[in-house]
Symmetry: C2
Subunit: 204 residues, 2 copies
Amino acid sequence: MKIITVSREFGSGGREVGKRLADELGLAYYDREIITAIAREMDLDEAYVERTLNESVYRSYPVTFAHTLSHMPAVNQNAPQLLARQHKIIKELAAKGPCLIVGRGADAVLEEHEPFKIFVYADMPSKIARCRQKADEKLTDKELERKIRQIDKGRSDNHDFVANYRWGDKKGYHLCLNSTGIRIKDIIAPLAAYAGLWFAGKET
Amino acid sequence: MKIITVSREFGSGGREVGKRLADELGLAYYDREIITAIAREMDLDEAYVERTLNESVYRSYPVTFAHTLSHMPAVNQNAPQLLARQHKIIKELAAKGPCLIVGRGADAVLEEHEPFKIFVYADMPSKIARCRQKADEKLTDKELERKIRQIDKGRSDNHDFVANYRWGDKKGYHLCLNSTGIRIKDIIAPLAAYAGLWFAGKET
């Protein structure tokens, strides 16, 4: 079954890659639906669900040990439960038919479907520029960089919580593309062709 | 100027990617010529040049320190000089015009030309299978795996000796492709299209 997952660094344009690639290949594209379904099934506020899932599953608590202040990592309350529900919903969506899912650990969760796994990344200046282009950011470059790193830490932690490879480690993906200096809409056709050939290879 | 570099794990088929892509795009392809030129310019045996360049620039020597046997890393005699000559020759070749170079640290050496940089990798079973297919290997899988890791250690050490990013770290490349389960000749057309769009983007 044709399932594509797009993992991405924040600000790399991975979401645009996913949306355009899904359109090009005629695949169902799930995004907001996943959050809405979790909120509905668990009778929780959508904004709360989204915020919790976008944060790292880990929290670190300050503790004093042998007169030394240290930080003890701990799992964030509710996050594992929300992640588990998210995985269940992703599996249900994938079972419906060919689709493309951006982020949300779908690459690891759907491994049994053997998805074509893409990872999109970029250098920091280009991620900062893309963030500014997309939103009317009031943050300084330094603050934006901190925000990007923090969001990616959440993605990384939550991915690695369930996957048997690390978020962003190329070994876990079929294609890793650096979006620095490229116009995403330009590369959709060759990307779609590449994915198509990969699926064709699986069938023979 | 259109310059493409293909870095690759041993057994991933990166050389085939490079050769076919150069043919597809009508780019000069340099491989053996580099070794021959170094040997001629330095009046050395070609086989010696090749062997030295394929080994890690580092050696580790056993030393005893405070009654403990340890290993001291040291630079391999002659290797830095050969690497420097290799870099000079690669720059001369690139100055001649559009080309594609596989391995040999060309990605780092030619950075001022802003090459399109590809990294090809694969999982271990598929690298072992590809090695067996190419050569009548008498080695066991375990021995082959050790050989693959050793060759890649040489590539990694020699790359990192001159580059400001690590060999195989996706951040240093524009596209990283996992050749596991794909037929290389199939993916050349989309790959060439992708590279072409990347170069077109640079010009605008």
